[in-house]
């Protein structure tokens, strides 16, 4: 039936091509919206689970890096967590603003205080990683390295905080650049540096002593994560305990309007597809009423006429969908690059994630759309009065 439908569409190649083009654009939009609606959540989840740390501990009432608040008495907390048999990795992080000297000026950078032995924040791209107690080393993002004009092996001066009275450095250290790294949660071109946690605590001054912005935990088995999170919540009531699954839920709640927008735009693209295909098929039916009446006259069943029209609708949407997938993937890539460049968003976060499930969902929706679009023309064709149509067709 489909090959015959394709042959029928080929009778008006330009018209069919225009319709397929229209369906392709609408399909691309639909695919992008399907990818957008679930993609950012998926990307967020993948980003958080990238290094296998499934639980985040942050200051009470906050989400990780949501505020400048930090967890106090963190060394004791880490010791207790490391004794937990279910926990196989504990990674504390302290974040804050630092300054790097460049010629005669100070450049603001974001500093991470980390434990290099248990880190989930970066990948070394050049040079080497910090040692476990390397208080003389520093890691730079490529943007920092460019701004400071330093590379692995160079010595730079880093300022922890400024004296508010005189505007001069209150804490300043010389450190050696050990390596260039890609910080996984940084936004594009963010100037970030990383030092070991004790050095970061000293750089930020007395208020940061024995503090961390965040502690992430690696649990032995994924299946144990909810139970461990629940237990830690009871055990440490002064901190916020979230599993990645719970963070994704929080994230989803914040993105509800975003998702609604993608649903609305996706629905509009479907309506456009239905109207386009239904209009074209209705015109086609009107033009071919004589042929349809003849088919009915020679004994072709209504059901076959209906199948033929639905087949033509499917052929149109199917052809358009194939082109639409290619177009949708290309536009998604382009739009993703634009959105990822927005300030304050991690560069590793993708808005459009190619998932086979998203493509399959879009394909199923389009097939249904093709069928829906063919229903009215098919009904029109099957109900064409045979004798009256043949009389009207007579010269």
């Amino acid at each position: 039936m489909i090959p015959l439908s394709l042959r029928a569409l080929a009778r008006r190649p330009l018209r069919a091509a225009l319709a397929i083009g229209g369906v392709a654009v609408a399909s691309a939009m639909l695919l992008d919206m399907v990818m957008l609606s679930g993609g950012i959540e998926r990307s967020f989840e993948q980003m958080l689970l990238g290094r296998g740390y499934q639980i985040r501990l942050s200051p009470k009432g906050t989400l990780p890096f949501d505020t400048e608040a930090s967890v106090s008495r963190v060394s004791g907390l880490i010791e207790r967590l490391e004794r937990d048999p279910e926990i196989v990795g504990v990674a504390p992080v302290l974040g804050g603003s630092l300054y790097a000297r460049s010629a005669d000026s100070l450049l603001t950078v974001f500093g991470y205080g980390i434990d290099p032995a248990a880190q989930f924040l970066y990948q070394v791209e050049a040079g080497r990683d910090l040692g476990a107690e390397d208080t003389l080393g520093i890691l730079l993002s490529r943007a920092s390295a460019r701004a400071i004009q330093a590379g692995p092996g160079d010595t730079i001066r880093i300022v922890g905080r400024l004296d508010p009275q005189i505007g001069a450095a209150a804490v300043e250290r010389s450190v050696v650049v050990r390596g260039l790294v890609r910080w996984l949660y940084d936004y594009q071109d963010q100037r970030s540096v990383g030092v070991v946690l004790p050095l970061m605590q000293r750089l930020l001054g007395p208020l940061a002593t024995d503090r961390a912005s965040l502690i992430v935990l690696k649990v032995r088995a994924d299946s144990a994560v909810p139970a461990v999170a629940a237990r830690l919540r009871v055990e440490f009531p002064s901190v916020e305990v979230n599993s990645v699954a719970q963070l994704v839920v929080h994230f989803r709640e914040r993105l509800v309007y975003f998702r609604q927008l993608s649903y609305i735009l996706g629905a509009i693209s479907l309506v456009v597809t239905v109207l386009l295909v239904a209009t074209l098929l209705t015109i086609t039916v009107s033009e071919r009423l004589g042929e349809i009446a003849t088919l009915r006259a020679i004994g072709v069943r209504r059901s076959r006429i209906i199948r033929q029209m639905l087949g033509e609708g499917l052929a149109l949407t199917g052809s358009g969908a194939v082109l639409g997938v290619l177009l949708g993937l290309a536009t998604a890539r382009y739009l993703d690059a634009i959105l990822k460049s927005f300030p304050g968003l991690p560069a590793a976060l993708s808005f459009f994630v190619v998932q086979p499930r998203a493509i399959a969902t879009a394909a199923v929706i389009l097939v249904l759309t093709g069928i829906v679009a063919g229903i009215y023309p098919a009904w029109l064709a099957s109900k064409a009065p045979i004798a009256a149509t043949l009389r009207a067709e007579a010269p």
Binding site: A10, G290, G299, I386, L390, R391, A394, P395
Partner: protein, 238 residues
């Protein structure tokens, strides 16, 4: 025994709000193997009668029986099946599917009737050879001449070995030479035992038939046979 019997057929409909009496009590009996021409001027109701005889239109009153089956008693599905298997239609404008080849057009009714592919193709080839188009079976119908298209339409009408062939102005779109070929083909069908009812306003075609039913203003006004009958003067009543 008659193959087709129509009794007291009336057909009324509205045209632009005005009542039209297309048929005003037509009685007609056609024997098996007969070649009947229904002749008359345009608008006299002959095509309407043909449509009713073929089960593609229903009479306002009266009955039609084909092989003893009352068409009015059949539902849409049964009537469609009867048209598929017991009646073959030939139209003035051929109405072949342009996206199909000649052979595929002939195969269409057989496919609808559920005949298997190889048997269907073999019979389509046989029928196309019968109408003199063995060499054109793989051609699209858009590549055929008017006469060839009408011969394909006749082969299609014969596909399921129907009891009756109904033809509506089959030479209306053809020139004299190709029209003659179609007439010859009808003669051959008749000679082979096919029952034919042909609607025409062409005296030449009507004269070929074994019997002519003359229609005027929705009534059969004369029945005759042979060339003499076709010369009956026909004029519309005022």
């Amino acid at each position: 025994m008659s193959l087709l019997r129509a009794e007291a057929i009336r057909k009324d409909y509205q045209l632009d709000g005005e009542p039209v009496q297309a048929l005003r009590g037509v009685d007609l009996t056609v024997a098996r193997g007969e070649y009947l021409a229904i002749a008359g001027p345009s608008g006299c109701g002959k095509s309407t009668l043909l449509h009713i005889l073929g089960g593609i239109d229903s009479p306002s009153s009266g009955t039609v029986q084909l092989e003893g089956v009352a068409l009015g008693a059949l539902n849409d599905r049964e009537l469609t099946r009867l048209r598929l298997t017991r009646i073959g239609f030939v139209f003035q404008r051929f109405h072949l599917l342009p996206v199909m080849t000649a052979r595929e057009n002939v195969e269409l009714p057989m496919s609808e009737a559920g005949l298997a592919g190889p048997a269907r193709r073999a019979r389509a080839r046989e029928l196309l050879a019968y109408v003199g188009l063995a060499h054109r079976q793989q051609h699209r119908t858009t590549q055929l001449s008017g006469g060839e298209m009408q011969r394909v339409a006749i082969a299609r009408a014969l596909a399921n070995a129907p009891a009756l062939i109904l033809a509506d102005e089959p030479t209306g779109e053809l020139d004299a030479v190709t029209g003659r070929q179609i007439l010859d083909l009808f003669q051959r069908l008749h000679a082979d035992g096919t029952t034919l009812i042909v609607v025409t306003h062409d005296d030449r075609l009507a004269a070929e038939a074994g019997r002519i039913a003359h229609m005027l203003d929705g009534r059969i006004v004369g029945n005759g046979a042979g060339p003499a009958a076709s010369q009956l003067p026909i004029s519309r009543s005022k």
